[in-house]
Every structure is written in structure tokens, then in C-alpha cells.
């Protein structure tokens, strides 16, 4: 399933100068600093053959494994993050703790009990209530879409398990996740409102794997909380075919626990600016993950890409003028880390130049979005040449989404940018047991690092004020 880019890599190999083929750790030359565009191009080319991102991701997924917020693994991940920032030469390493209620999966099983016994592939949605210890066994009612469930009268599902089998659309920009996520978040309460005793959905997945996909759900106050799980795609299709033939009963056993007293951490490290160290570019990925896989594409990759990009800049003899801060956010999957980040940094918001998160896997970036007006600023005059060999569009659409952990600071006035990744196969893997290291293509991940490093260099060595170009637009 890997989409290799040998032609791209081969053509870029030609761009590597002899000087860049070696580590750039030698004593800085006495000559005058090179123009930003020249350094950015060298960073881009070096990134394509650098192993930092892979090494970070391999380390995280191997040594820590899955790391839900509030879990013992997340505590180990926090220590890992500090050690990794330290080893890679980051400064001002900070661990910012915040309160985070946590949810923990227990033993789970699901099966068809009639017309014949069959073991279903299921996974509880994040935050689901458990079933009673003896489980829940009930007839199912199939709804081809969420709209069909919404159209069912109240009371029509009394004593039934609602099964919504709406398929998810594959799209490069991930647009299929909108309706799938809505179903996952709202489905349980809408089913319960109509009398259902449990809720099942075809996984929010674009693959045909049996591995089901989890993800956060929630409950509306005043409506009974019913157990909620996702089905493997072939399992959902089997239920549809069986239900077309006659009554089907399903049994579910979900054990889960919650704790209101756990904590999470946003961990950060900096490449400190030489001229304007208090002007900060905030980037990063989220360190927490769902539990069935090892959080490689979601979002070890984002942590690895942004850490590697900043580290490549930190290795240069010439320091960036502004500070680049990498944040490993600590609770994206369960309620977000952005509110905590905003609370901890509300006094420096005016000094945050721009923010962006990498949180959509590690496949090639295909477009860049900047705040309104910024694309025409002289800061980015070199971008067409810089990004052409990486095959990245310079989007005319202003950036409005910097990644979910930046939402709160963005709402508080911080500009954001987006390096949009190709997400065509992201939802084959996302939130499932198959989110593992082997699914990441190192060549594509390095295309990401190349884009981040070269773009960061331009911004960090400019005086651009995104708030002003945006206002001028």
C-alpha cells in the first residue's frame, strides 16, 4: 500500500550539493550568512535523505507503544519526549501538566448469536460506557445511513441494538471523515433517544479490513448512555446481508473504566532564535494515541516530522532569527490539548508568530495554505522554486485550520498555516490496530520534513507579521 516517489527522490538527489551530502555539524564558515532561500533549499535537500524523523518514530512506536492520555504508557511517553528533545539538542524543554479525566478499555467481545454463532470484529468507541457484566444481547436494526437513524421515530428501537452501516468516502483531503465522525460522536445518543440498548456503527474506515476503528464518542445529557462500538467493515456488510434474510441477534460485552483524576502533559522544546528569540513559531504533533495500534500515523508521524524539521534547523551553523518551538501535545484524542496550551501561554500569545500541527499521517504533502495575504509577501518569493520539486501546490485558499491542538490559540488570535498531506489512505489505518510503523513510507515522511524545514526557515528568518498581512488583505 505504499506510494513510493522514486522519480521525485531521484530528481532531488541531483540538487544535493557536495557540501550538503555530509552532516552540517562542522565549524561554521567565516563567510557571510547565506540568503534564507538558499539555506531553505539546502535544508529541503538534506531532509530528503535524513533519518531523524524515522529514528524518532521508530523509537516512539517501539519503546513506548500505544499511549492513551491517562495511561501508564503516556507517563513513559512524557519521559521519552524529554529525553528525545534533550538528545536532539533542543533548549527550554518544558513539561506542562494539566488535568485530564481518562477512559480505559477493558475486555471486549461481540458476536452474532442468531441465526448462527459468529465472532464479530468489534472495538468499543472511546468513552463508551461498559455493558453489564453479562453483556447485552438483542435483535439488531440496520440503518444504511445516519439520516435513516435520525428518521426513525422515538420508541421505535426499544430493546434493540441500532446498527448504522454508512460507508465512509475516500478523499485526498479527508473530507469523508466529516460525516463519519458526526455519526461516531452523535450516534449513541440518537439511538438511545429512540430506545436502543446499544449502538454499533460500521467503522469510520476506508479500508475493507476486519480491524475495526475506534475514536471518541460522547453522550448528550439527559439521554440514557448506551454502550457503543465499531464493527469491522466486512462484519457490518455481513450483518446487512443477514438482516436482509431475517432476524439477527447480537451479543456485546464491553468493559471499560474511567478516572477523573489523571493528568496529561504538553511537552515542548525550542530551537532558540538568534535575533528575536521571543518571537515564536509553534509547531508540533500530538504524543497521545488510541490504544489498538502503536500510534504511528496518528500521530507519531507528526511528532517525528516536526521534531526532525526543527532539529535540522538546529544543526545549522546559522541560527534562525526567530525561535522555533516544537510541542508534543498530550491529549488530542480525548478532548484536545489546545485549551490547556492556551491557558498556559495566554500571556505570550502576541509573540506567537504562527502555529501549525502535523496530524494527518506521513504521506506526501500536496498543498500549503498560509494566512490571507501572506502568500504574496516577499518572504515567500522563493516558495514556488522551493516547493516545485516537492510537488506542493501553493494554495490560494487562506489557512483557517492549523490542526486541532492549535484551534484554541487560533481562536485567541494566533495565525495558523497548513501543510496539507495526502490522506487518501489515512483512514484505512487511523484509530485501528493497523496504525503501526510499517505503514509509514520513509520517503514520503521525508518529503514532509523537507517542506516543514524549508518553510520554517523562511518564516523564522523574516520579519513577516501574519496578523498584519492578513489585516491588509
Amino acid at each position: 500500500m505504499r506510494m513510493l516517489i522514486p522519480a521525485l527522490t531521484a530528481s532531488l538527489a541531483l540538487c544535493l550539493t557536495p557540501a550538503m551530502a555530509k552532516p552540517a555539524k562542522a565549524k561554521p564558515p567565516a563567510a557571510a550568512p547565506q540568503p534564507p532561500a538558499v539555506v531553505a533549499a539546502a535544508l529541503r535537500d538534506k531532509a530528503l535523505t535524513d533519518t531523524t524523523a524515522w529514528d524518532v518514530l521508530e523509537s516512539l512506536t517501539t519503546e513506548i507503544g500505544p499511549r492513551p492520555a491517562g495511561s501508564p504508557a503516556m507517563t513513559r511517553a512524557k519521559d521519552w519526549a524529554v529525553a528525545k528533545f534533550t538528545a536532539l539538542g533542543f533548549k527550554n524543554i518544558k513539561v506542562e501538566e494539566f488535568a485530564k479525566p481518562s477512559w480505559s478499555r477493558g475486555a471486549e467481545s461481540g458476536s452474532i448469536t442468531g441465526p448462527y454463532p459468529f465472532k464479530l470484529s468489534i472495538i468499543g468507541l472511546g468513552g463508551t460506557v461498559p455493558t453489564p457484566a453479562e453483556g447485552i444481547e438483542a435483535p439488531i436494526v440496520i440503518f444504511p445511513t445516519f439520516a435513516d437513524l435520525l428518521a426513525a421515530p422515538e420508541g421505535s428501537l426499544t430493546g434493540k441494538i441500532a446498527v448504522v452501516t454508512q460507508p465512509m468516502v475516500r478523499a485526498q483531503d479527508g473530507a469523508g471523515y466529516g460525516p463519519a465522525g458526526t455519526l461516531r460522536r452523535r450516534g449513541p445518543s440518537e439511538a438511545a433517544k429512540r430506545g436502543a440498548v446499544a449502538f454499533l456503527m460500521r467503522s469510520a474506515s476506508t479500508s475493507s479490513s476486519r480491524d475495526p476503528h475506534t475514536g471518541g464518542t460522547g453522550y448528550v445529557d439527559g439521554i440514557p448512555k448506551i454502550p457503543a462500538a465499531a464493527l469491522g467493515v466486512p462484519d457490518a456488510e455481513l450483518l446487512v446481508r443477514l438482516a436482509a434474510r431475517g432476524p439477527v441477534t447480537v451479543k456485546l460485552n464491553l468493559a471499560s473504566t474511567t478516572s477523573a483524576t489523571t493528568v496529561a502533559w504538553n511537552i515542548s522544546g525550542e530551537i532558540v532564535g538568534s535575533e528575536k528569540p521571543d518571537e515564536v513559531i509553534v509547531i508540533g504533533g500530538h504524543l497521545d494515541s488510541w490504544d489498538p495500534g502503536t500510534g504511528a500515523i496518528d500521530d507519531g508521524a507528526g511528532v517525528a516530522i516536526t521534531t526532525a524539521a526543527a532539529k535540522l534547523i538546529g544543526d545549522l551553523p546559522q541560527k534562525p532569527k526567530r525561535t522555533i518551538r516544537v510541542v508534543m501535545w498530550g491529549s488530542e484524542e480525548t478532548g484536545g490539548s489546545g485549551a490547556a496550551y492556551l491557558a498556559a501561554h495566554k500571556d505570550e500569545l502576541g509573540k506567537i508568530i504562527i502555529a501549525g500541527e502535523s496530524d494527518f499521517g506521513a504521506d506526501n504533502i500536496y498543498s500549503l495554505e498560509l494566512p490571507a495575504g501572506a502568500m504574496k509577501d516577499p518572504t515567500f518569493a522563493a516558495l514556488p522554486g522551493l516547493f516545485a520539486p516537492l510537488k506542493i501546490l501553493l494554495s490560494q485558499t487562506p489557512s483557517t485550520n492549523g490542526g486541532s491542538d492549535t484551534d484554541e490559540i487560533h481562536a485567541a488570535g494566533v495565525p495558523v498555516f497548513a501543510l496539507n498531506q495526502d490522506g487518501a489512505r489515512y483512514f484505512d489505518l487511523h484509530h485501528s490496530a493497523d496504525d503501526t510503523l510499517d505503514k509509514v513510507d520513509p520517503l514520503q515522511m521525508n518529503q514532509n520534513v523537507a517542506a516543514w524545514a524549508s518553510l520554517l526557515w523562511l518564516i523564522a528568518n523574516s520579519d513577516i507579521d501574519f496578523r498584519k498581512v492578513s489585516a491588509a488583505k
Copy 2:
């Protein structure tokens, strides 16, 4: 993952005569019978848009589900087979019972217990002994290949779990299954001989899915029987990376039971020949399957393809001269059904013209192998034209393998043929939870039906004696 063949289908649609676009059930015309090559071409073209194979496969995988020999599901499958043969107009329907010890999977789990807890994706190999109820927990030793395990001295694995992480090679003809199958069958005893307390192998799989692949293993007399399981490919890779960093311990719990008293059935139905009904062409697939999936590609597809091909012939106004017998073999996965078939048919072996089994999924057939000398017989003069639009090579290699359930009658003198399917993605799915209906491409399955139906017609309407052409060679 589907490989569609729209161009092929479009070009073949042009071959459909108006007469063939309608069901051929109308009263036979008074005109003289058409030459075999003409009827074969019409069968081929009709097969490409016929839904019988899909309907059979959909029915089997939906109504019966997984069907290991000796299970209650296999008893339901036997009744399904009789009903399906009857509904499709087959004659001389027979249920041939034979004794079959059976093995049944119980609850299974595996986890890394050190350096940190991690739930592994595992599946017990078919026939494995169970662990003690409390499980087995032990340090692991990694062997990159089976040869590395064989090179380990006796006693060197005392108290350890042997983990062989040999990857499987993807090949169109399935050649990668040779070494993978050898490891699966011989690995447990070779590990036990060296003192191991359990055996784990990277799944015999060409995919990167977490879903592990089962399959039969066995034990050598006189060597301790140790529990044996397969690991999801990413799980095996994680163990390799962890073991490179330090000691790793794994805990396994496998529950399984065996019964020496169960039975299995080979079920058959016939399209009876008009001129030489006692000359029989034996084809089929196997009805039994492994338990994690629903046995769609292994081997519901083979059952569906051969049943549909024979049924299309049975629907013709003109009957074949020789009899076509479809066998749904009942125990391919656990010891084979061929010995029982040979025992039940030893008195008619001389009347079995040729035999062939479809047991490699439902992707396109790419080559035909016939017994030595047969390809040049006038019977097959029309084959180049018949098979060209289906894109099937006429192999110069004589057929020596007709499918595993035909091995015993072949060894007893029955000629065999092979319509070789493209198996490039077969081992992504085979013996895993992902062997489900959605993985079958109906267009490719119908290319199979077209090849089987047209070839069968040529053989059934000829006087060819494969034993003589082979001897003449």
C-alpha cells in the same frame, strides 16, 4: 485492493451475440448441434455477465460463515451444498461421509509482558496443543529465518519461546507459500527439539495487516508438543525491534480441543453426459474453511466458480457428451479430502477422464496447463481464440498438480489440469479474518467461470483420452 478488468469486459461484451444476451432456457432449436468451439465461445461470453458464481459465494459466506471440518457449521454447510446443487439442477447428488478427527480453537491471547505490556495480535496454528490454563510466559529468542532456527544447537532454547520472523515473498504463482508452509508445519517440532516451550512465527502472509494467518501445523512423534501460533506481521516486526534493544518476554494463552470422532463429507452433483455418461470430468473446490474469516477466497470461490461453470453447461439446450461432476470437498484444510475421495471412487478411476480443483481465490486465471501432449490435440484447436480475450496463456508446461484434493486420484492414475489463478494478493488474505466476501472481485471471478465453462465444454464433447496423449508424448 480490487483489480478490475473493465477493458477486458468491455471488449468481450462485443462478443455477446443477441441470442446469448438472453437466458438460454428456451426450447432447443431443431437445427443441428453447433460445433464445440462455437458453444464454448458462447459459454465463455455468457459467463462474463452471469451472476451464479457470485450468488453461490454470497449465499455460502452469508448463510453458513466459517466452516471448519468437524464443526456444527460444516454440518450446515453440507446441507447447504445439497440444497444448492438441487436448486441449480444438478443430478446424482451424493453425500460421501468419512471419518475426520477435528481440532477446535478456543479463547486465545498473547501479549508482551516486558519491557512493557502490549497486546499482540496472534492466532493459534491449526492443530496446536493448548497452553496450560495459566498460560506460558517466557523470554523470546528471535530467528530471522527457519534456517537460523535449524542452525541453533539442541538445548539452546530451553525455557524460551522461539520466534521465527521470516517474511513471505509475494509471487503470482504463490511460490512464496512453499517456504512459509514448511516453517509453519515443521517449526514447532524443530523449536521443541531445541528446548523451546512455545513457537511463534510471523504469519505466512504477504500483507502488512495486524490480522494473523492460521493454517495447519503438526508434530513429530517423540518430540514434546509445544503450543504454536502466528503473529500479525507488524507484531513480529515489533518483537524484532524490541529484541534488538534488550530482553523481551511474551505470554501466551491458547485453548483448543480435539475430537477423534467427528465426520466430514465430500458432496457432489452432476451434469449428466448425453452420450457417454459414465465418462466423468471431476472438478470442484473445497467446502471447508479455516475459522477466522468466512472462507470466501479459500475456498468458497472455488466452489462457486466450478459450480457456476457446470451449471451454465447444464442450462444449455445441448447436453455435453460426457458427465461433469462438481465435488465440494469436505476437509481440505485439515488433512485433505482426497484420500477419502480416492477410497470412495477407486472402482471408477479408469472412467475419470481428468480432474481439476479451483483453490487459489477468485482473481484472474492467467495460464492453463494440460497433461503432456494434450495441448496439441485437435480437441483444443480452438483454445487460442477462446482464451485470448480472457488473457490466459496456454502453458507448454504439462500439468502435474490439479489441486490438493485431486492429489490422491492423480497419484492413482487420473490425469489433472490446472487453470492457474493470479495469486499475487491471495496470501494477503488467506487463512485470516480478512478472508471475506468483499475481497472477491466479481468481474475477475467471472473470468474464471468463463475459462472453466468453455474448457469443460471442449473436453466434455471430445473423445480425448488424456492418458493416451500423455503416453504418446
